[in-house]
């Protein structure tokens, strides 16, 4: 009998067919990402995917970077958030040409969202003319990690107030990072249980060639080192 559609017709026989795509679920995203990467590279734009928890200081790092650069490099950005354009507005006030990507319910940016944002005439123009294009991801230490956005490098902002165990708890995020910025270091005197040495050791356990900078966006300490890292990536 037929159990193809469940009709019970005895004259219909089923035949087994196997299809083996062996394709990554991220294949469509990765194709968009390659398109973006080619676009950034052709324009001489250093694209940086900035990730980290909500409140880790991603926007503050970019504001402090803009202040430290004093116009030496042209900066542009997109900021992903579930709601509001608050981060993009902050960056615009700090001199970074920026646009929001409001994701609604999505917990991460994907390459298609960044691509669509770049087709906004105002941002697209700024992104073509800039030296460094920051893609400020949705605040989240899990979901954004697996989406290639066509960036040249990935920066994870991890504030010292989040606890030294975070690299061990969220290894995938740190595994593919090119740089970790340990932020809010001005708060260390108020965090007697937080050891930067232990934090760095935990990073080295999940991140090959671990590289971390200590930065305070409030005092400005360490921002020059981040700027030097950006310069190094532009030169390389």
């Amino acid at each position: 009998m037929c159990d193809v559609c469940g009709c019970g017709d005895e004259s219909v026989r089923a035949r087994a067919v196997t299809v083996s795509p062996h394709a990554s679920l991220l294949a469509d995203n990765d194709r968009e990402a390659r398109h973006l990467r080619a676009h950034f590279e052709a324009g001489g734009v250093l694209a940086i995917n900035v990730m980290g928890s909500p409140g880790s200081g991603k926007t503050a790092l970019l504001e402090a970077t803009s202040r430290a650069l004093q116009g030496r490099l042209r900066l542009a950005a997109v900021s992903g958030d579930l709601a509001t354009a608050l981060d993009a507005e902050r960056l615009a006030r700090a001199g970074v040409s920026s646009a929001p990507i409001t994701t609604g319910t999505a917990c991460h940016l994907d390459a298609a969202m960044v691509h669509r944002a770049l087709h906004d005439p105002a941002l697209g123009e700024a992104a073509r003319r800039c030296d460094v294009f920051f893609i400020e991801n949705v605040g989240n230490l899990v979901c954004p990690a697996i989406y290639d956005l066509g960036e040249a490098a990935r920066v994870v902002v991890l504030s010292v107030t989040e606890g030294v165990d975070k690299p061990l708890k969220y290894p995938v995020m740190f595994l593919k990072a090119d740089l970790v910025v340990l932020s809010k270091t001005d708060l260390l005197p108020h965090l007697p249980g937080t050891s930067i040495a232990v934090l760095r050791e935990n990073l080295a356990r999940v991140m090959p060639s671990a590289r971390a900078l200590e930065v305070s966006a409030v005092t400005g300490e360490g921002v020059e080192a981040f700027v030097a890292w950006l310069d190094g990536r532009r030169g390389g």
Binding site: H22, S24, L25, I146
Partner: protein
């Protein structure tokens, strides 16, 4: 919950792979998921159950094959075991993930009318 986005991508790929057939023909979908793929298999299964009806895959089940993580030395290629060590014991080189980040649609098993 990027698992829902990934399951939508899975059905997009499945639709293309079985183009001559119907989604309702698919009985089993095999997915390889790495330990460091950034995906929680339980959440993936829940997303699959939530989405398969509206995508027409009424009779499909999801088989998740786990892929363990494995590291190799980026310099000399020495296998470094499942847990990431700080450096290669043989030459001191950095570790490189050799496997464990897969999110691969491996196989679709269909039953189609034999006419």
């Amino acid at each position: 919950m990027h698992e829902v986005s990934l399951i939508e991508a899975l059905f997009d790929q499945a639709d293309r792979a079985i183009a001559p057939h119907r989604p309702g023909d698919v009985r089993r979908i095999t997915l390889r998921v790495g330990a460091l793929s950034g995906v929680e298999p339980e959440l993936l299964r829940a997303a699959f159950e939530g989405c398969r009806g509206e995508r027409g895959y009424h009779r499909a089940s999801l088989l998740v094959r786990d892929e363990p993580a494995a590291w190799r030395c980026a310099a000399c290629g020495e296998a470094l075991g499942e847990a990431l060590p700080l450096a290669c014991a043989r030459c001191g080189g950095d570790a490189r993930l050799a496997q464990g980040d897969a999110l691969i649609l491996e196989r679709l098993e269909l039953e189609v009318p034999d006419v």
